[in-house]
Symmetry: D2
Subunit: 144 residues, 4 copies
Amino acid sequence: MASHTHRQVEERIRDSFARQSMMASIGATIVSVESGRVTLTAPTGEGFRQQQGFAHAAVVFALGDSAAGYAALTMIPPEAEVMTVEMKINLLSPGEGCLVAEGRVLKGGRRLVVVAADVWAELDGGGRRHVAVLQGTMIPVDHR
Amino acid sequence: MASHTHRQVEERIRDSFARQSMMASIGATIVSVESGRVTLTAPTGEGFRQQQGFAHAAVVFALGDSAAGYAALTMIPPEAEVMTVEMKINLLSPGEGCLVAEGRVLKGGRRLVVVAADVWAELDGGGRRHVAVLQGTMIPVDHR
Amino acid sequence: MASHTHRQVEERIRDSFARQSMMASIGATIVSVESGRVTLTAPTGEGFRQQQGFAHAAVVFALGDSAAGYAALTMIPPEAEVMTVEMKINLLSPGEGCLVAEGRVLKGGRRLVVVAADVWAELDGGGRRHVAVLQGTMIPVDHR
Amino acid sequence: MASHTHRQVEERIRDSFARQSMMASIGATIVSVESGRVTLTAPTGEGFRQQQGFAHAAVVFALGDSAAGYAALTMIPPEAEVMTVEMKINLLSPGEGCLVAEGRVLKGGRRLVVVAADVWAELDGGGRRHVAVLQGTMIPVDHR
């Protein structure tokens, strides 16, 4: 992306992000935006746990799905938004601590965008554990 | 399920449900528990929306995944819990108003339980709209 | 579907089916065509087995995916075909004997059609065993 | 893998591969076997096409699922085999020419192995096109 375009894309994503109350509720923030690649992070909040105290699968899903959706948003015309058509998540290990989701575009397209995401738990002593992989489809929708 | 067993199963589910802070955060409640079939409901809360004001996909996922997981819990030994191995969601229409998730067991098993769920939006004028279908795998884990 | 339209839809499906060499190779035939619902069958052929002698997952997939795709075809304009965008299969038990796949439309649409399928093994002594469930997305494509 | 172990693993895979008549039927061969990573190839055979002449989704599935399954087989005890629990495929572009599937293990485990695969079409003029991505779960089964 050209520097100018990149700033516009990032603005669109920050604007959309700000309007998703779900992202604020789970305490998510944007780490980075590149063409076809977006990274988000969120803590394992008190209010979003499963019965054993780990991050609820839905929070891991929320973060991975959003990172993938915003990655798709970097690849489509500026007047469009994206919606999730379908998403598959495989949970690899319990989510805890600081969660980081890296979304990426596997295949762009005018009609559909195929995406993937990895979610990691950053460990206190350094290093990170692979928490989940997601694979899905986004559809551009004109929101005007 | 025998009446006595049924009460025990329902207690296990209400107990597990109470320990999932995610369920309280989204305002979810248990509608019904039958053998292999559990129904949950939640409003489309202010804090759980996507950028257009509809229920965030992650809330629809949370409700469907939990209904499916609790349906699996009705079919396994009392000392075990279940965790989501993987879950696929197809979103059919925007979620709004009162969401209702019906989880069911497709195939029980000692090692794995295959599950499905439907999520509906109950409409103000009566009737309901199909919001999502989920299909996935739960694994029994001994939590002692 | 009106009787006339129904005949046309069935002809389109039989025509498309005949052009799919994969269907002939696995010995598949059409059992029934209704609006939004198509049933196919195929034997567990010698050449399509996995290492234990059961039907290979790919044959179960082929039959379920095709039944779902043809179910979608009954719901779209006559000049279009459908292609599989994505498909998820959960295998419930080994496939053997006569396989029967029932595809159905969960949600029609101009841009995408969400589908599901069940695959059964018909048992020698009567009755049937649930072999697989599929859930996926078809996209109408204009083939002219 | 130690050199000796590696030869044993490769033998197990070649032995299992030879017993899968599906692999012979589609003309598949093993390209390479590494720890947690297996590559297979097959032509787009006459008998395995969809209605437009491209490789049928089920052949792309067969190759990707098998590459992923054999990748899992490199990571489990020698007396076990693996079976597909579930598999999700996203089709990115039409399959034609020589198909190559690269399977890999995302997360090993005693009870389940999470896998992924990419399927490519090798182009006549060099280069390759991304045909499909798969993400799924394998289960070790003792076949004695």
